[in-house]
């Protein structure tokens, strides 16, 4: 077996513990089924591109992007745990290169990101079934979003994990950053109607681009703006991945 695949096998084994699975599945389900339906009495329709969606549908599709982002936390946690528990050094003293280690992390977050997006898509399917617009682009766009979203957020988590040594520091920073990403984005609510500064903040957040692209794939609402958002995702993912790789390569023992 190739060294990268061996490390992916190991990464998945150490990451998929019951706590993580509950976090990955139960948490978004509560959002979709509890918050989604509870807010229906307050929120009528949500405008999205040239269509209108009911709130549970809007939220369920946003949760796909939200879950991709959450699952990529795994990458930061793996690196941080490996450093804390001496496994990074041990792996580097074994039959692996730093490139193998970095690639294995990317593959792991890619796999976890796609699986997590699939789970939420399946669970949310009955909710947004009526509005779905299947086209030849739907699946490729969802895969594109899963892969680039995973790389982007995985890189952010990796960068944080290489810079921090204490568990308190790591937890505080990662929770603050990801809380900002989650709630200052279009995952939960649309940009239209929000105050101008908040609307600007929405578009400083990569999760907004990710969920917009996912919704465009599911509801078939492609526009030039969505293509620009896809390009932004690609550029950000590549840029942040390069920084994460550089930092990991320089990580000292």
């Amino acid at each position: 077996m190739h060294p990268v695949l061996r490390l992916v096998n190991r990464n998945i084994t150490i990451s998929l513990n019951p706590g993580f699975l509950i976090w990955q599945i139960i948490f978004p389900l509560i959002y979709i089924f509890v918050a989604g339906f509870a807010y229906t009495s307050l929120i009528d329709d949500v405008p999205f591109e040239n269509t209108k969606l009911d709130y549970p549908t809007y939220l369920a599709t946003g949760m796909i992007g939200f879950n991709i982002m959450n699952s990529t936390l795994i990458s930061g946690i793996i690196i941080w745990n490996d450093r804390r528990h001496g496994m990074f050094e041990q792996i580097m003293a074994g039959p692996f290169t730093r490139t193998d280690y970095i690639l294995s992390n990317i593959c792991t977050i890619g796999i976890v990101g796609i699986l997590s997006a699939t789970i939420i898509a399946f669970v949310g399917y009955p909710i947004f079934f009526d509005s779905i617009e299947f086209s030849i682009f739907t699946i490729p766009i969802l895969i594109f979003a899963s892969i680039f979203g995973s790389i982007l957020f995985g890189s952010i988590a990796s960068i944080i994990s290489t810079r921090l040594r204490s568990s308190e520091g790591f937890n505080v920073i990662i929770n603050t950053v990801f809380l900002f990403f989650a709630f200052v984005s279009t995952a939960f609510y649309p940009v239209s109607g929000t105050p101008e500064p908040l609307a600007t903040a929405f578009y400083l957040n990569p999760l907004t681009y990710l969920v917009d692209v996912i919704r465009a794939g599911i509801f078939g609402t492609f526009s030039n703006f969505i293509i620009i958002e896809m390009i932004v995702l690609i550029v950000l993912a590549i840029g942040l991945f390069s920084i994460a790789t550089r930092l990991l390569t320089k990580l000292d023992f």
Partner: protein, 313 residues
Amino acid sequence: MSCITTNSLSKSYDDIAAVDGINLDVRSGQVFGFLGPNGAGKSTTIKLLTTLIQPTGGSITILGTDAIKHPLKVRNRIGVVLQQPSYEPTLTVEKSLEKYGMMWNVDRKQRRDKVEELIESFDLQEIRKKKNEDLSIGQRRRVQVAREFMHEMELLFLDEPTSGLDPSARRKLLDFLKNKVKTGLTIFYTTHVLTEAEYLCDKIAIINKGKIIAVDSPDELKNRFGNEKTIKIHIAGIQQNLLNLLAGIQDCKIDFNSGTNITIHSNKSELVLMEVLQLLNKNNVIIEDLSAMPTNLEEIFIKAVNDSNASSA
């Protein structure tokens, strides 16, 4: 055949030399002890030899391969147990052994057999289902050392492998290592427990302030540094005038505080002992116990390091 060869190997951090031009020649099939006080450069040397860090000067050849140019080739043939603990907190003991074997590309059937063999050899039966995060420091260390034997290797680096182990686990590990060496394994071993090095090592190097200050077999080191012997005599009853009588004996250092214990340090221990015995006999002093202490590695180590510090001061 040479297993490890270094030439003028150096590693500096901000102009401070952690390893300062060391030359090593470790032969295959032996246990090479690497001793030194804290901060002497032992762990840095291990990190250099295991290709974890790059040297600032010199060359390293491991198992005939240039370790600076081909680090991965070297790492594929060696095992490393580093000083710091390393473990997967959420995995059980047997799962972490099994996964480590998988990481080294050991096939599934062989992995299963190895896990059972190592659980037996390292007394891990009772904790095999426990998670690493729930183990004591000593248990974790045993798992860490056991894990390294999940894969085949020609050379094993052990950086203080017995730290945290109880005496029986320590002895069991040393015997396990001795048996492995008989099958052709070469071991590069660092420790602070000098009795361990004496028990296990065929050759010993002492490093201080980044420089090798002595390399030889334990016996040869004793010959070189350990001419001085210690003789302890226990006498019956306190003898008030004995201190003055003993002060006349030449070529030795005598510790006697008017009590019942006399300790003699001398390079000419046999001659000095004769003189002391005659003197005690002449003064009707009854000897209750007499012991001659052979020079041990600890004394050699302290002497070598002190000599090195004195010459560099």
